[in-house]
Structure formats: structure tokens, C-alpha cells
Amino acid sequence: MLVIKNLHANIEGKEILKGIDLEIKAGEVHAIMGPNGSGKSTLANVLAGNEGYEITGGEIIFEGKNLLELDPEDRAREGVFLAFQYPVEIPGVSNATFLKTAINEVRKYHNQPELTPKEFLDLMKEKSKILGMEESLISRSVNVGFSGGEKKRNEIFQLLMLNPKLALLDETDSGLDIDALKIVSNGVNIFKAKDKAVLVVTHYQRLLNYIQPDFVHVLYKGKIIKSGGKELALELEDKGYDWIKPELVESETV
């Protein structure tokens, strides 16, 4: 589904991603872990098309298409979804208006008819129930007056509403209490299917207890320095990151 080859990216002239290689197949869940500042969020943002980053090398192929040639909205329409670490508030625009516009734009792109108001409302009810959200939320402005946890929950709600192919979750677990974490994880697990893929970007192993990854990658200083199965996450939880940091590993062997 997604092939990333030797990806390099800068922000304000500073190189953040220094050659990322990663392949994600349909049906898989990958986790990117790593200490602060390793480039995890950058990777998620670059995949979604954040124009604040400059791509200086490499390629991203998604379902056979060169993602780097597409605007953020076209990437979304092709099936890439980014759940933000810090979801944005949009006062004056209700969740209903926002999602209806989004869903119908995606449908238009695929030559599908717009949802009828009833279809849309039914979809809203079904998905909000999964996440235990109150229906009154539908008419409220996007993320306005939401707590940190509610915002994260709303991201997963949008994920379920838009039902993309690839979900990128950027630190979705941060700021969530254990109950909210379970609800959000449950939402992601409902999204999971054999024709879908998930890339979880997280600092902590905690979320991976609920969203079980098939692969775990450690990102450090803009490079993937180690990949493994889900047991790698547990090992990181246990031992921290130092034991795999190349400069430390090297100095030990010298």
C-alpha cells in the first residue's frame, strides 16, 4: 500500500528526515517509536502533505501513485488520513458541516453521489456511538471547547466517518486517560481491516497494548535504526532507547 524510499525532509533548512525506508502492506499495523525530536511527527506530516516541510530527496508511493505530487486534499481523497497530535479548532463551523463537506468532496473525487442528509445523519450516529460521543456534539463547532482527550476522540471519529485506506495516528495517545485510551483504541481496531493499514506514531508503548502492531520501528535522528515485531515495543518500554542508539552501541563495541 505504502512504499517510502530514502525519504529526506527539511524544515527551515534543517534536515529532520535523513533517509527513511518503510513499506506498509494492506492489513498491517506499524508503529513508529522514538525519543522526542527524532522526526516521528515530521514523518506523519510529510506523508499527509504538510507544506511546511521541504522534501529534499526520496519518494513516497501510495497505491501506485506518487504521493509527493499530490496536494494534501488529494492525498486525503486517495485514502490517506492523519489524526493530528494537536487537532485544530474551527469556531463557527460545526462538526456536521465539516464532515459532510469532507465526505462529499472525497465522494466527488471518486465519482460517487453525495450522501443524502439521512445517510449522513445515520453514519454520524453509528460512528459517534462507537466512540461514546454525545449526539449534541454533531452541531458543535469543530473541536471548540473540547478537552484534549475529546479532541483526540474526535480525530478517530473523523477517521471512522471518512473511512480512508491508511490511517496515520500522530501521538493519538498523548493526553488520554486510560478509559479514553480504550475507547480511542477500540475505534482504531474497528477501522482495521485487511484492505486498510495503520501507522501509529507514539512516544510510549502504552497505546500498543490496545492497538497491537505487526511491526515496530525505532526512529532516531531522522533514520529508522531498528525494526522488529511487537515485542520490540515492550523491550523499549523496559530498557529505554539508549541501548539501540548507534553512537552508544558503537562506543560500547569500541
Binding site: A48, F81, T101, A102
Partner: protein
């Protein structure tokens, strides 16, 4: 020096036209109001029109207004308007009950107004008609609060014969707002419309007024308005202004509010552009526990100029003023915001807040924003802030990652930006109509909340 002589000619034009103006007044020229006019004319003779050399007009060059000779509406002769009541609807705001006053070129059109079933204790009338039926209601009150007059104010008062007079007795609550339509420019000649309005709210009274300024065609005209507001003890006055005139027109209004103990004055100012728009909005808080709220949205595109000068004068202790002005400027538009707050020596425990935010949608649009706080009391809380920027990049990216195209994303951000002013509008059905006008004026895809 060229400008000077041009302005001098313009002034002479207005001074010289007064004779033929007087001739059209018939019996109206032997009243106290006419004495006030003559007095204003005399002052005009030795008062220069504002120039950019003056601090208050530094960024607003009014010479385009002064290069043309606008003809006072009375001089053109008042004829029955060709417009029908049905045709008025496209200019009016709807979805709520209201009393209606219509002014054509600044002169009251009774046949296009509807003041039926006004509650007892409320006078809503035209200045001109009231001068015939009950001049005592006006005498000694009108022009009482107009101060620091510039040549535009004097021009208004020299030529004004009409305006909306609203007088609410103590304890009376006027449930329905009074919508006042100022429709200008239905004439071959460039017309000068000079309404002089006055709202007097008695003790514990409440009234809402919605002034709508519109053009009846695409020809140039000059609306030069004065609105005086007096809020007596514990009165609540909501004054909305929706200025929506054509791109060739000019607009100036001076609002002068005087407030007494525990009164609340809310001013909502929506400026949708003309070639030049200037608002001077002043409040004097001359007693304790007064509240003053100024909310504003200003839009401009092409080469339009929109200038809002506000002035809150805290004269007594324990009062509160709050101001939020937001601008959206596109193309080569120019915005000016000057927010003056004086906290006088006696005005201890004053709370004064001011915020001005402007979004520039093009690289050529500009805004000059200036908070001006003069604080002479020592126990006060005053904050102000001004920001100028472009639409938020992160929010723009966020919306697009949901598949929403860039133009719609920008519209959503514009709606979001205007929201904190739009949502304080108490007349709820107005809110969506204001949003609609924002998108219409910026030529952008509309976001409707359903």
C-alpha cells in the same frame, strides 16, 4: 498646494449651495434646528476638511471625496421614491420581527416604513416630521453630545433635515428591534445623504436599533451620518450597523454615545466596504458601573479603504469597556484601526479591554493598527492587543487533510476568524446573513452551517 485649493473649492461649493438649500426648506427655515444649521455652516467656513497631515486622519486620504461635488439631497428636490415596499426586501435583514424606517438619500420615506404597534412610551419618528408635530422632543437634545466636530460633521449638521429619532421612556422595553434602512444613490447626480439620528433611552429602558446602509444603484454617493446615543441609568442600548454600499460610494459616520450609571451600550459594526469608509465611534462613560462593548468586522477588497476610529472615555470609576475588532482585507485594500481609551484620574477600578485582529488575504493588502491608551488613574486593568497576519497555516493544512479543497478550506478559516464577532450578535437570524455577506463581498465560496 494643489490639494488645498481643490479642498477650498469643495468647501465653497458646499457653502454656496446653502442658499438654494434654504429656499427648498419652506417653513423649516424658521426653527431652532435651522439656527443650528446656520451655526454649523458658519463653523464649516473656517474649518478645513481633514487631511493626512492630521494624526487622526494620517492613513485615510479623503481627497477622493473632496474631488467631487456631492449635491445635498434636499437641493435635488425630494420626490416620491420609485421603489416599492416589495423591492426594499432585498436590502433588509429578515427572519425576525422589526419596526421599519426607510430613508431615501437620508430623507424619511413614510410610505416605505412600518411603525405600527409601537409600544406605549416609545417615539420612533423622522426628525423632519417631529419638527412639525413635536419639536420640543428634539429641542435642547439634538447635537447636545456632538463634540470635537470635523468638517464632515459640520457638513452633516449644516445640511441635515432628517434622521431617525428614537426616544424610549423610563422602564420601557422595546421588544422588536428597529431596522433603519438608509438607501442612497437613486439619482443621476452624485447625492450627499446627511441623516442625523438620535437615540434616547430612558432609565431602565431597552432598545435595539439596526442601521442598514445600502446603495440603490452603482453610482457614486456620499453618506455622511451622525448618530447620537444617550443611555440613561440602567438602560441597555444595542446599536447595530451594517454598512453595505457600492464600491464607488463614500461613507462616514460619527457615533457619539453618552452613558450614565449602570447603562450598557453595545455597538456592533459591520463594514462591508465602499471606496472609502470611515467610522468614528465614541463613548463617554460619565458615571459608575457602566458597560460599553464595541464589536466590529471590517472587510475590504479591490482598492477600498476602511477606517475605524474608536474612542472610549472612562471618566468615572468602576466601569468596564470591551472592544473586539476584526478585519479581513484582500487585493489592494487598506485598513485602519485606531482604538483610543482614556482612563481619567477619577476612573479608578476601570476594566478596559481592546483587541484588533486583521487577516490579510493578499500580499498587497495593508492595515495600520494603533491602540492608544492614555491612563491617568493608578488602579485599573487595561489590556490591548493587535495582530496582523495571514490565515493560519496549521488550520489550513488540517482542513485539507480531510479532503476539503483549498478554496473551501480558506472560506472555513474566514468564517472561523469572523466567528467570535458574529456569534455575539444578539439577533440570532442576523448571524447567518452576516456570514453570507462576508463571503459575498470577498467573492469566496460560502460555508453554510446547517
Amino acid at each position: 498646494m494643489k490639494n488645498k485649493s481643490e479642498f477650498q473649492n469643495t468647501k465653497e461649493w458646499y457653502l454656496n449651495n446653502f442658499k438654494s438649500f434654504e429656499e427648498k426648506l419652506n417653513g423649516e427655515s424658521k426653527t431652532f434646528l435651522h439656527d443650528l444649521r446656520k451655526n454649523a455652516l458658519e463653523q464649516l467656513a473656517y474649518t478645513d476638511f481633514p487631511s493626512t497631515r492630521e494624526e487622526e486622519w494620517k492613513y485615510t486620504n479623503v481627497s477622493p471625496i473632496l474631488k467631487q461635488n456631492f449635491i445635498p439631497a434636499v437641493n435635488l428636490g425630494v420626490k416620491k421614491s420609485a421603489i416599492s415596499k416589495d423591492e426594499l426586501k432585498k436590502y433588509l435583514f429578515s427572519g425576525f420581527d422589526f419596526y421599519l424606517m426607510t430613508f431615501i438619500n437620508g430623507i424619511y420615506a413614510e410610505e416605505l416604513s412600518d411603525l405600527q404597534e409601537l409600544p406605549k412610551g416609545v417615539v420612533v419618528d423622522s426628525l423632519r416630521l417631529l419638527m412639525k408635530t413635536n419639536p420640543e422632543l428634539v429641542n435642547g437634545r439634538i447635537s447636545k453630545f456632538v463634540k470635537a466636530e470635523n468638517a464632515f460633521n459640520l457638513l452633516n449638521r449644516a445640511y441635515s433635515t432628517d434622521g431617525a429619532i428614537i426616544i424610549v421612556k423610563d422602564g420601557v422595553v422595546v421588544e422588536k428591534p428597529i431596522q433603519i434602512l438608509y438607501l442612497t444613490g437613486d439619482n443621476e447626480s452624485p447625492v450627499l445623504s446627511v441623516p442625523h439620528n438620535m437615540i434616547i433611552a430612558g432609565k431602565n429602558s431597552q432598545v435595539g436599533v439596526l442601521g442598514v446602509y445600502a446603495s440603490s444603484g452603482s453610482k457614486t454617493h456620499f453618506t455622511n451620518s451622525i448618530t447620537e446615543v444617550f443611555a440613561d441609568e440602567s438602560a441597555i442600548v444595542d446599536l447595530y450597523k451594517i454598512q453595505n454600499e457600492n464600491g464607488k460610494s463614500y461613507h462616514y459616520e460619527k457615533v457619539e454615545a453618552y452613558q450614565l450609571k449602570k447603562s450598557i451600550f453595545n455597538h456592533y459594526n459591520f463594514a462591508f466596504g465602499a471606496e472609502i469608509v470611515r467610522n468614528d465611534i465614541n463613548s463617554t462613560l460619565d458615571d459608575e458601573n457602566i458597560e460599553t462593548h464595541y464589536y466590529g468586522i471590517y472587510l475590504a477588497n479591490d482598492k477600498q479603504l476602511v477606517d475605524n476610529h474608536t474612542f472610549v472615555d472612562h471618566a468615572k470609576p468602576n466601569c468596564m469597556s470591551n472592544e473586539l475588532y476584526k478585519g479581513i482585507l484582500d487585493d489592494d485594500a487598506l485598513g485602519v484601526f485606531n482604538g483610543k481609551i482614556i482612563v481619567r484620574k477619577d476612573a479608578q477600578k476601570t476594566n478596559a479591554y481592546q483587541q484588533n485582529k486583521t487577516v490579510l488575504l493578499s500580499n498587497r493588502a495593508k492595515v495600520n493598527t494603533k491602540p492608544q491608551l492614555e491612563i491617568f488613574a493608578d488602579d485599573v486593568k487595561c489590556t490591548h492587543g493587535a495582530t496582523v497576519g495571514h490565515l493560519d497555516d496549521t488550520a489550513y493544512f488540517y482542513i485539507r487533510t480531510r479532503g476539503i479543497p483549498s478554496e473551501l478550506a480558506k472560506s472555513m478559516l474566514i468564517r472561523a476568524f469572523a466567528n467570535d464577532v458574529v456569534e455575539v450578535v444578539k439577533i440570532e437570524p442576523l448571524r447567518e446573513q452576516l456570514n453570507h455577506l462576508i463571503f459575498e463581498h470577498l467573492n469566496r465560496v460560502e460555508i453554510e452551517n446547517k
